[in-house]
């Protein structure tokens, strides 16, 4: 039973990292209609800058403080130099250009930081485990990640529902021609939204730094899952990103955790291991397919 609770927490924590990534991507996709494959690169930039500053200054908080503006500025520069040229082009052109950006950023980190993966440790004040229930120990750092994710979701909700800029962004997501006609500086809005999205990706990156290897190309492994999340949640919808990320995080983790044991009841162990391994890596795609059959536009479509 404790194991189930622990795995639920693991799923929640994974889902929250995915949410930070997909919140930015879904806005960019939903408002600007741009497929941005390079979103993972900003995750990587956040992790690299965060790791470097943390090691240099010895403070994890300074690392976060440096990673956020770094990935936001990189994002806005990319938007101005590259993406502005692509808004009126086909999706294929956007995919090609942003795929090129992935290679550019991977090579750039290799030039600046070398091929050696960077080291980043959990800060001392977040290391160790907390006993949540008798017998259930959970790493403090992962709890902190969950906390930060919930905080970010709240802040985003406040921005979108309570501020003028949030209103404009929502309006942009449902009808961007109209909001332009109403006199909103759509160019500036796009740049801001893009910067906000990449800053969130950078935050996800720097928070993943102590758990994962900070290495060139680390963004690609999470990028595919991020796309699954926004397709499940509905493109352009923050609510959808929350729901999609939690669903994907939980389904993926629970699949990996309990399918092998479940299959061992049914088959002999060798067959069970390989079947469970294959099925658990497919689980989220099966989930995506099922949801798309039921709701072709995702759970919470922005343009309904």
């Amino acid at each position: 039973m404790l194991l189930v609770v622990e795995q639920l927490l693991n799923g929640l924590q994974f889902g929250i990292t995915l949410f930070l990534m997909s919140a930015g991507l879904t806005l960019v996709f939903g408002i600007m209609q741009v497929i941005n494959l390079a979103h993972g690169s900003f995750y990587m930039i956040g992790a690299y800058v965060g790791a470097t500053v943390t090691v240099y200054t010895g403070s994890f908080l300074l690392g976060i403080a440096a990673a956020l503006p770094a990935s936001a500025v990189c994002g806005m520069v990319v938007e101005i130099i590259v993406l502005r040229k692509l808004y009126n082009r086909e999706h294929l052109d956007q995919v090609l250009a942003t795929f090129g950006l992935i290679m550019f950023f991977n090579e750039l980190t290799r030039i600046i930081w070398g091929r050696q993966p960077l080291f980043m440790d959990v800060p001392p004040w977040l290391s160790g485990n907390i006993e949540l229930l008798p017998g259930l120990f959970y790493p403090t750092y992962r709890l902190a990640v969950i906390g930060v994710g919930i905080l970010v979701a709240l802040v985003l909700w406040l921005i979108f529902s309570r501020t003028r800029i949030g209103m404009q962004i929502r309006a942009g997501a449902s009808n961007r021609d109209m909001i332009g006609a109403l006199g909103v500086n759509i160019k500036l809005l796009y740049t801001l939204v893009f910067g906000m999205g990449t800053a969130l990706a950078g935050l996800a990156g720097v928070m993943a730094g102590p758990i994962l290897a900070v290495e060139s190309g680390m963004g690609e492994s999470i990028l595919i899952l991020t796309f699954v999340v926004i397709v499940i949640g509905g493109i352009g919808s923050i609510r959808g990103a929350v729901a999609g990320a939690l669903l994907v995080g939980l389904v993926d983790t629970m699949g990996r955790a309990f399918l092998p044991a479940l299959f061992r009841f049914l088959f002999d162990s060798a067959t069970a291991d390989s079947a469970a391994a294959s099925l658990s890596s497919m689980a989220i795609y099966i989930l995506m397919a099922a949801i798309l059959v039921w709701k072709p536009k995702g759970l919470f479509p922005a343009h309904s």
Binding site: N10, R115, P139, Y141, L212, G217, S278
Partner: protein, 386 residues
């Protein structure tokens, strides 16, 4: 006067050209992608040996051509083809990954070209698929798992839990461990290739309460696993073991204290006490400013093996059979000390268990703990009919 000058100049150029007819060695390796540092170390180790010979290997001037395969079998094939057809190279080397090797090696060795492996040595090329033109200077893939299997058995751990990525090499490496482990296997988990978060697997592992954990997770996957394993507080409770691939000096730098004390299997460590190794470790650190890894040692050994054979045939590799016969003698001072080739032209060598320790300047490295196998022969040698 002018004419004589011109003639002299012409003669001089001809002499220059003929001495400059160097022997070309083609290196297909992985320099880009996350795994790029593996190829970088192999290349640097190899280049160090050439530099020590002042541009020669065994006194024969050589030119090393290096190309990046990007970890893609297709690309590796194209590069090898170009080295052979266009550059007329008779010696190829350098591949890091087994899937690239499987695409390149069988095709290359059919074309009167010698291939020497600096790393990847899949079972298929060691057993029935062995070939007189193929030499593995590194190991046979399973060796580093077999040694851990033997050691974990000797250490008296009665139950073990195994983790590897769900792809052919993952299953091979676990099979290598199981070949020598006699205890009970309480869990055998195959994870997604390239997976970054292992929280679910670690929680399941904790619930299974094994006495030892064995994992094969190369590259970033291993960094992630080790860090998360330590963060879950398990490294103090259940000892973890693995092959050297997750414990080279460059990975250790990224894992940090989480790897301290972990025992791993390898055929080489920087502290092996033989003259060739002492000289290699010192020269490598002086030239590149970092600790050599086992990949660098494999690159260096390969270059020096080629040097020994080139010297014996005086640089004439038109007679490829004579060259191969010299290669097979392995008449060179390996940084591993004991080294010879078995019937399938894979190493017969000692394999060790080493432990991750902290260095004086705050870095991390390995120290040799125990020689587990002496003159170890791989499991596939008997299937090789040459």
């Amino acid at each position: 006067m002018k004419k004589i000058g011109l003639t002299l100049l012409l003669l001089f150029t001809i002499v220059q050209l003929s001495t400059a007819a160097t022997l070309k060695i083609g290196m297909v390796t992985t320099l880009s992608t996350k795994a790029g540092y593996l190829g970088e170390d192999i290349r640097d180790g190899f280049a160090l040996a050439i530099e020590q010979g002042a541009g020669t290997l065994g006194g024969i001037p050589v030119e090393l051509m290096v190309e990046d395969d990007g970890r893609k079998p297709e690309k590796g094939k194209q590069i090898a083809e170009r080295f052979i057809k266009k550059e007329k190279a008779h010696i190829l080397t350098g591949i890091v990954f087994s899937n690239v090797a499987m695409a390149v090696v069988p095709k290359v060795v059919r074309q009167n070209v010698v291939y020497l492996s600096t790393n990847a040595a899949p079972s298929k090329l060691a057993g029935k698929g062995c070939n007189p033109n193929y030499f593995s200077v590194s190991y046979q893939n399973d060796n580093l798992d077999e040694v851990v299997g033997q050691y974990v058995t000797e250490a008296g751990h009665k139950t073990a839990y195994l983790i590897a990525p769900n792809y052919p090499a993952g299953k091979d490496h676990l099979a290598g461990f199981k070949r020598f482990y006699t205890g009970k296997i309480v869990g055998e988990v195959y994870t997604k290739l390239g997976q970054s978060d292992y929280a679910a697997e670690i929680a399941a592992l904790r619930a299974a309460k094994p006495e030892a954990v064995f994992f094969f997770l190369p590259g970033g996957m291993g960094i992630n696993f080790l860090k998360q394993y330590a963060q879950a507080g398990l490294s103090k409770e259940i000892p973890v073991y693995g092959p050297a691939f997750s414990f080279d000096e460059r990975i250790l730098k990224a894992v940090g204290p989480a790897a301290l004390g972990v025992k791993n299997g390898s055929q080489w460590t920087h502290d092996l006490d033989n003259a060739a190794n002492v000289e290699f470790v010192k020269a490598y650190q002086e030239k590149y400013g970092r600790m050599p890894t086992l990949y660098a040692a494999q690159g260096y050994d390969t270059a020096r093996l080629i040097g020994s054979a080139l010297k014996a045939v005086k640089g004439n590799i038109e007679d490829l059979d004579a060259f191969k016969a010299e290669l097979k003698k392995a008449d060179f001072a390996s940084v591993r000390g004991n080294f010879s080739f078995g019937v399938n032209q894979h190493p017969v060598q000692d394999v060790y268990i080493r432990e991750v320790i902290e260095t004086e300047n705050g870095g991390y490295t390995n120290k040799t703990v125990k020689k587990v196998f002496s003159n170890h022969i791989d499991a596939y040698a008997a299937e090789c009919k040459m």
